[in-house]
């Protein structure tokens, strides 16, 4: 009898602990929502910021999207190509395991170190300057390993029978990959890319060092212009603007950022669930 009570107590304790993560998530999102919703208005989303207390975050939203765009243009083709090589071609030798090891290494590099690298290499050594291109490429370095991993996982879940059927028809290996393997793997690849986008859009340290101060009130006209972004804008207002007006703008910008991130995550989640269902049906 005593043991049974103990079991029950421990089980209750464990479930209570498990709920802490859920509670923390709701408190953080709820707090930002309650404090940020008041700042959101059509003007806030359409206008440019003017000093700390006035205007909106339109250039910041566009800037963040542009940075993520450049980042994806770099990381997605490279990541998918690496993944195809690792999943379909790579022989089981030292070179392949070295490649894998370095992909893991790159995933482990702290974002601030990638930011410093972007500053030294892209901004100063290549002379690109603090700009959209530097920021986007540095973000690309950061999410490259995630796109490689996600794409490789997706390619590996394609049933071997599909490949064999295609090869047996006399189709070459590359055409098999392009028309059969990638076609079945693409929802998984897109899910990985969406998650990478969520990571890139919220990243602050890298962008702060390579892309601009976040308070720019103009839209970027070229790849070589400094560009504003939501996370850096939040950072500047939260640490340097001490007036209620600045703080309410920081809450508003945080809310926009969280909403962008949640939209990407939910979309990725839906896509993954549909994909899992389809794959199960296919077997």
């Amino acid at each position: 009898m005593r043991i049974e009570t103990e079991e029950k107590l421990v089980k209750a304790g464990l479930s209570a602990t498990a709920l802490i993560s859920v509670i923390v998530l709701f408190i953080v999102v709820g707090y930002i929502l309650i404090n940020g919703i008041g700042a959101i208005s059509p003007e806030f989303l359409r206008e440019a910021p003017y000093r700390f207390e006035y205007g909106g975050v339109f250039p910041q939203i566009i800037g963040s999207l542009c940075l993520v765009g450049v980042c994806l243009l770099f990381a997605v083709p490279l990541g998918i190509a690496s993944a195809i090589y690792l999943a379909e071609y790579a022989p089981d030798n030292a070179i392949t395991s070295t490649v894998r090891f370095f992909v893991e290494c790159l995933a482990g590099v702290p974002s601030i170190v990638i930011g410093l690298f972007g500053l030294a290499f892209l901004v100063y050594y290549l002379g690109i300057g603090v700009s959209m291109l530097s920021g986007g490429l540095a973000l690309g370095f950061m999410i490259l390993p995630w796109t490689v991993r996600a794409s490789e996982e997706a390619i590996k879940t394609v049933p071997q029978a599909y490949r064999e059927a295609s090869l047996a028809l006399g189709v070459t290996k590359w055409k098999t990959i392009r028309h059969v393997v990638l076609k079945s793997a693409y929802p998984g690849i897109i899910t990985g890319i969406l998650l990478g986008m969520g990571k890139a859009i919220g990243e602050t340290a890298v962008v702060l060092l390579t892309a601009g101060s976040g308070l720019e009130s103009f839209l970027p006209r070229s790849l070589f212009d400094p560009v504003a972004s939501l996370p850096v804008y939040v950072y500047m207002l939260a640490t340097q603007g001490h007036t209620p007006g600045a703080l309410s703008r920081a809450f508003g910008a945080s809310l926009v950022l969280i909403m962008l991130f949640l939209a990407l995550s939910v979309f990725a989640l839906i896509l993954r669930n549909r994909y899992v269902k389809k794959m199960d049906g296919g077997r």
Binding site: I3, E6, E7, L14, S15, T17, A18, S21, V22, L25, V28, V29, I32, L78, A81, S82, Y85, L86, E88, Y89, A90, D92, T98, V99, R100, F102, V103, E104, C105, L106, G108, V109, P110, I112, V113, I114, L116, L119, A120, F121, Y125, F141, L144, Q160, L167, K173, W174, L195, G202, T204, L208, L209, P231, V234, Y235, A238, T239, F251, S254, F261
Partner: protein, 303 residues
């Protein structure tokens, strides 16, 4: 995680040699090499820029004062604070994360899992700047009002970093608990042990290396984390060795972000900031290698 099995179809089909196919394979191979190239470039540039400061030798590595305007670049207080903040955060994350992992792997009904798992996944993705802002507005104020001091302190850093590390600890620990062979569990239950005794005496000892790996990896994440921790720990101008959890401190990452804004390119100060980056890189690399070693050792034991 470190080495995964290959699916290879060369075994089944030997296609005819074709120039296009050959070129495509080489191009894909070149793309795969890009990760190696990027990592090497990172190492070269960080160390090259940090080199003049690393050459200061003992004055850099064992110096007790970081005071750039007086040309003093001692990193001891910053490194000590970094480890204090990282280890404390990890302790809290372990206290919450390991029980959560046990619950998810052994007890949780399907509907509970469907609530907890996505929440944990969301938690890892919440932009760190937003979490830091939350910490600044809520935690720091609460600590200042209830415990005294400035509020921006080690304790606030612990709590915020614990939230950021928690998802990593939970997901890897859960995987390693699930990886314990079912037969072990069934044998133990069959002998009349209760579920709790089985977890304590059979499952946890077997999942130990995976749980340990999750903690080492979490430590690497905590030490490399920048924005969230920066906003809640105060960053005094001249950092000292902290004496209480209510002291303001500086960590490696926050020093780089704050001081890069007003550093002259080419000055010793700039080199010192890159040297901090190099130190951070080495610490995190050692922790990551340690994770890999722990996982590999655990794998060898179970097979």
């Amino acid at each position: 995680m470190c080495a995964q099995e290959q699916i290879r179809n060369e075994k089944f089909v030997k296609p005819r040699w074709s120039a296009v196919e050959w070129i495509i394979e080489k191009v894909l191979f070149a793309c795969a090499l890009s990760s190696i190239l990027i990592v090497l470039f990172i190492v070269i540039f960080i160390f090259q820029e940090g080199f003049p400061a690393l050459l200061l030798g003992t004055r850099f590595f064992f110096g007790m004062t970081w005071w750039p305007s007086h040309d003093l670049f001692g990193i001891v207080p910053t490194v000590v604070s970094t480890f204090i903040v990282g280890i404390g955060a990890l302790g809290i994350a372990a206290l919450i994360g390991i029980p959560t992992a046990i619950y998810l792997a052994e007890f949780a009904p399907e509907w509970m899992r469907n609530i907890i798992k996505p929440s944990v996944e969301m938690l890892v993705g919440i932009p760190s700047i937003v979490l830091g802002f939350f910490g600044l507005m809520v935690l720091v104020v609460a600590i200042r009002d209830n415990l005294g001091g400035y509020g921006e302190c080690i304790l606030a850093g612990w709590l915020i970093l614990a939230v950021m590390t928690l998802p990593h600890v939970i997901s890897i620990s859960e995987d390693s608990i699930r990886a314990v062979p079912r037969t072990y569990k069934e044998a133990s239950l069959g002998l009349g042990a209760t579920q709790l005794q089985t977890i304590r005496k059979v499952i946890l000892p077997h999942a130990k290396s995976g749980i340990l790996a999750s903690l080492v990896l979490g430590m690497g994440n905590a030490i490399g984390e920048t924005m969230a921790v920066l906003m809640v720990i105060g960053n005094p101008n001249i950092p000292g060795i902290p004496t209480s959890v209510l002291d303001s401190v500086r960590v490696l990452t926050s020093t780089i972000v704050i001081e890069h804004a007003y550093v002259d390119w080419g000055s010793m100060h700039q080199h010192a900031l890159f040297a901090l980056g190099a130190v951070l890189f080495v610490i995190v690399a050692i922790l990551n290698l340690l994770t890999c070693a722990v996982i590999r050792k655990g794998m060898r034991k179970t097979t």
